[in-house]
């Protein structure tokens, strides 16, 4: 993706930060834009208000209210390996949208600041500049501000729009599939999301269609004291295929921002969905002040036989990441994959992994997780592989490697493996290794410069994951990691 040019940086603090360290967070700027925002706080009225603003049908409001009532009965989870300050759910504004929201098919009416913001993030939205080969849905705070290439997609019958539009235009599909994979009762944050989700992407690939473009959603939290609660729903009908990309950034702010998204994927017979994420939310400063709490529920269900869901993620941001993209392997011969690189620096906490639930016969899953911890951060892999008694002849292969840079960080591996079928085969391997001054000296003494040396080691460590990413994303991911690692090594 295109990097923003050296234009005027809006935030004083950002400038200082940039001078202090080469490891700047280059997406830390804020956008000055007129916002429509509802008052802070959460109650039944808030939900009615959100629903009303979005002009939602009655069934949608009812679903939200059910979720809200259920949420009230739940206790916020605590986590064994780290602590975070209490989240004030009444101190968040649950709906923040740019005024002059562009209408469908015409970004001309959009606030020019908004278009500029996405351009700085490397996501041109306008007709002239938009990225070739990738259709983008851009989500700014609570709402989707524009989706590109919709017409091209319509020709083959692919529906790619914001979920708000889908609720209006394809209610039968939304009604049928929303919550089918992640019910509102699933967990604390999923319940909260179900009650207040403001936007997100919706994607429907009809029977037999291979989506001609990569679909992508770009998330941006801008407003202070707001949370982002987007909801993404991807349905792949029989024999279809889609590759989906997701990117995220947020400004540098001293207070924490909450991001509690839900992503649901459903594949029917012979369908395949590939979902790639490069997550670079603001991670807080060196002292651990500020940053995004990234508490998301991502789950796919291989409903049909021979279907496949593949998650690839590069997690390099957020103060706290707590995320387990999972696959329920229900269809016989279905395949689940999870490829992850998680890099933590400063005082970041990442607890990420996956769940592979084998239900169907001959199902197989692969897990490759690479954790890199630097500074005083804490990086954990937590995963579950479960074979139900029905999962005859199923297989799993897991590999979890950690790399530590420095002596104040930690790397943990917590794999849970439950085998209830004697024909299951499972192999789990994990290791730790290091990147150190000695290694870098060895490489540089052969003529490589420091950047090349770091990049070579990181690429070597992460190559199994990077090769799963679409090409542009892979390049961006490598650059992102190099930038974050510089200064920690050597």
């Amino acid at each position: 993706m295109i990097k923003p040019s050296d234009e005027k940086i809006l935030n004083e603090k950002t400038i200082e930060e940039n001078q202090l360290s080469r490891r700047e967070y280059q997406y830390g700027f804020t956008t000055d834009i007129e916002m429509d925002r509802i008052p802070k706080g959460l109650n039944e009225e808030t939900i009615r208000l959100i629903s009303e603003k979005k002009n939602e049908p009655e069934w949608m409001l009812e679903w939200r209210l059910k979720a809200y009532k259920h949420w009230l009965t739940l206790k916020e989870p605590t986590w064994p390996n780290f602590e975070y300050g209490p989240i004030d759910y009444q101190g968040i504004s649950y709906y923040t949208a740019p005024k002059n929201k562009p209408k469908l098919d015409s970004l001309d009416d959009a606030d020019p600041e908004l278009i500029k913001t996405f351009e700085r993030l490397g996501i041109p939205l306008t007709e002239q500049k938009r990225l070739a080969g990738v259709a983008v849905d851009a989500v700014f705070d609570s709402v989707s501000v524009g989706t590109t290439h919709t017409k091209e997609l319509e020709k083959v019958g692919v529906i790619f729009c914001s979920i708000s539009e889908a609720i209006q235009n394809h209610p039968e599909l939304v009604k049928k599939y929303l919550g089918a994979v992640v019910p509102y009762s699933d967990n604390f944050f999923a319940a909260l999301n179900s009650a207040v989700f403001s936007d997100g992407s919706f994607c429907y690939i009809p029977k037999g269609v291979t989506c001609p473009l990569e679909l992508s959603t770009y998330f941006r939290i801008n407003a202070a004291e707001s949370g982002q609660f987007e909801r993404t729903l991807i349905i792949a009908e029989e024999g279809s295929y889609v590759s989906y990309l997701e990117g995220c950034t947020a400004p540098m702010r001293d207070e924490n921002q909450l991001h509690a998204a839900v992503v649901e994927i459903l594949t029917l017979d012979n369908a395949e969905v590939k979902y790639s994420t490069v997550q670079n939310w603001y991670a807080g400063d060196k002292e651990g002040k500020g940053g995004v709490y990234n508490f998301v529920t991502k789950r796919g269900k291989c409903e049909g036989a021979n279907s496949k869901i593949s998650w690839t993620q590069v997690e390099a941001g957020s103060a706290i990441t707590w995320k387990y993209p999972s696959v329920i392997l229900k269809g016989d011969n279905s395949i689940g994959e999870f490829y992850s690189v998680a890099l933590t620096s400063h005082k970041m906490e990442a607890d990420t992994g996956t769940k592979m639930i084998h239900i169907g016969k001959n199902t197989s899953s692969t897990i490759v997780s690479k954790g890199i911890s630097t500074d005083e951060s804490n990086n954990s892999y937590r995963g579950l592989v479960k074979f139900l008694p029905s999962a005859e002849n199923s297989r799993n292969y897991s590999q979890c490697d950690s790399m530590l840079v420095g002596n104040k960080c930690s790397a943990n591996t917590f794999p849970y493996i439950e085998a209830n079928n004697p024909t299951a085969t499972l192999e789990h391997e994990a290791s730790t290794s290091k990147i150190n001054a000695e290694q870098l000296f060895y490489l540089t003494s052969r003529g490589l410069d420091l950047e090349q040396a770091i990049s070579l080691v990181i690429n070597g460590f992460c190559k199994e994951v990077f090769k799963e990413l679409p090409l542009e994303f892979a390049t961006e991911a490598v650059k992102l990691l190099e930038m974050k690692l510089e200064g920690s090594v050597g």
């Binding site: 064994p80 008694p389 950690s402 530590l404 840079v405 420095g406 002596n407 104040k408 960080c409 930690s410 790397a411 943990n412 591996t413 917590f414 794999p415 849970y416 493996i417 439950e418 085998a419 209830n420 079928n421 004697p422 024909t423 299951a424 085969t425 499972l426 192999e427 789990h428 391997e429 994990a430 290791s431 730790t432 290794s433 290091k434 150190n436």
Partner: protein
């Protein structure tokens, strides 16, 4: 308060008096800790896969005098010419015991040690920085009935087997709180086998054992625990080991044909240049349950540890493995390895395994892994083409898998005993699936 805790409280009050005052105070405190901790439930992460709900409903009796006949198998298993310390139903059996002297090694019952080595035992009991504490450790401390104290004096190296036998013959639901203390002074090496056997007895009883091993500088302890107990029994065993500079702990645990077993083995590596080896074999069938918990805590640099837990599961048996490698920030150059391999043969057998790494030092090499699988069809087929029946082929290959483990034990005398205990579970493979 749960019935079981009430039950234990009554047993504690009924327990014999005549203890020194400090011991009574100590045991009161420990019982209070036990009450506070309570019986763990599956909500406790450490007990996620081992449900004590059934145990909580049981009612246990105090120890009774030795009763019940000595089973035939006992005489095959125990060589009466070797050094044996035998407890039947929790009480020292003088007739069966053969506490010969090994020069440089002090061996006695805990009861005697409490009189003869009072200060030493008092100090050891007071130590609470060895490995984890949990409800059952507290319970053992509160209710210790007897056990063994072994001390190898500086420089002693012995190849002789020290065999501690806990034999259950009664049909009463007794609860047996056994405590074993093994101290190796500098530059010593000894071999200890602790056997928990019932041989065909089907009684319901609870063994709650605690073994503490102190391996001092340059010493090597070969410690084997072997279990073949009643299928209705409960066995909760904690083994805590501290390893000092240039010392080695070589541990092996065999669980076969038992009831409900939970074994926790915690090693604390305290001195540089030392090694901890924890190997295990479990071979179970019917509805037997084995839960192995391990923890290796690397507190100093330049040490190694090695865990290999192998299991064969037939019928509807259930195995749990939860292994932890913990590397502290100063423990650089740690080399640690952990593997759990399971052969899942029974149609309803299941395995829950959780090998964990928690690492805070950057210059270390740690690997862990777990495998769950069946026998290689190629291998079975190969044997079949040579005229072996399918069932026999399975038995032969599984035996190989098991024996390979046992052969790593140093003393042949121990190897042959373990193979003897293994036999019933191996024979059982012939009536398994496939």
């Amino acid at each position: 308060m749960s019935n079981l805790i009430e039950n234990f409280k009554t047993l504690k009050n009924r327990a014999e008096t005549g203890h020194p005052a400090w011991l009574n105070t100590f045991q009161d405190e420990r019982f209070a800790n036990f009450e506070k901790a309570g019986i763990p439930t599956v909500k406790n992460e450490e007990w996620k896969y081992t449900n004590l709900a059934q145990l909580s409903k049981e009612k246990f009796d105090a120890l009774t005098d030795s009763e019940g006949a000595i089973p035939e198998e006992y005489n095959t298993y125990v060589n009466k010419d070797e050094l044996n310390i035998v407890f039947t139903n929790g009480t020292l059996n003088n007739e069966l015991s053969n506490i010969t002297e090994i020069s440089g090694v002090e061996i006695k019952t805990l009861k005697n040690a409490l009189v003869e080595n009072e200060e030493e035992i008092k100090a050891i009991l007071a130590k609470n920085d060895i490995g984890n504490t949990d409800a059952f450790i507290e319970l053992n401390n509160a209710l210790i009935n007897d056990g063994v104290f072994i001390k190898a004096k500086k420089g002693t190296v012995s190849e002789e087997l020290i065999h501690i036998v806990h034999l259950t013959t009664t049909d009463k639901p007794i609860v047996n709180n056994i405590r074993t203390i093994i101290v190796l002074e500098e530059s010593t090496e000894i071999n200890v086998l602790e056997s928990y056997v019932a041989f065909g007895n089907n009684a319901k009883y609870l063994s709650n054992s605690l073994t503490d091993c102190f391996v001092n500088d340059n010493a090597t302890l070969h410690y084997v625990k072997a279990q073949t107990e009643s299928e209705a029994s409960y066995h909760i065993g904690n083994t805590r080991v501290s390893v000092e500079r240039n010392a080695n702990f070589k541990g092996f645990t065999l669980t076969t044909n038992s009831g409900f077993t939970r074994n926790e083995l915690d090693i604390v590596i305290n001195g540089e240049g030392s090694d901890g080896t924890l190997h295990s074999l479990y071979s179970i069938f019917n509805e037997q349950h084995v839960d192995n918990h391990t923890s290796v805590d690397h507190r100093v640099p330049n040490c190694t540890s090695n865990q290999l837990y192998k299991g064969i599961l037939n019928d509807a048996s259930h195995a749990v493995f939860n292994g932890k490698i913990f590397v502290r920030d100063i423990a650089q150059q740690t080399n640690s390895y952990q593997l759990n391999k399971n052969l899942l043969l029974g149609k309803k057998a299941h395995v829950d395994t959780k090998p964990q790494l928690e690492i805070f030092a950057d210059d270390v090499r740690c690997t862990h892994g777990a495998t769950i699988g069946q026998l290689e069809e190629d291998e079975i087929f190969y044997l079949q083409t040579r005229g072996v029946s399918r069932k026999d082929a399975i038995r032969i290959i599984a035996t190989g898998f098991a024996e390979e483990s046992v052969e790593e034990i140093k003393l042949k005398a121990i190897q042959s005993k373990l193979l003897y205990l293994l036999q019933p579970s191996i024979d059982n493979l012939s009536h398994g699936q496939l």
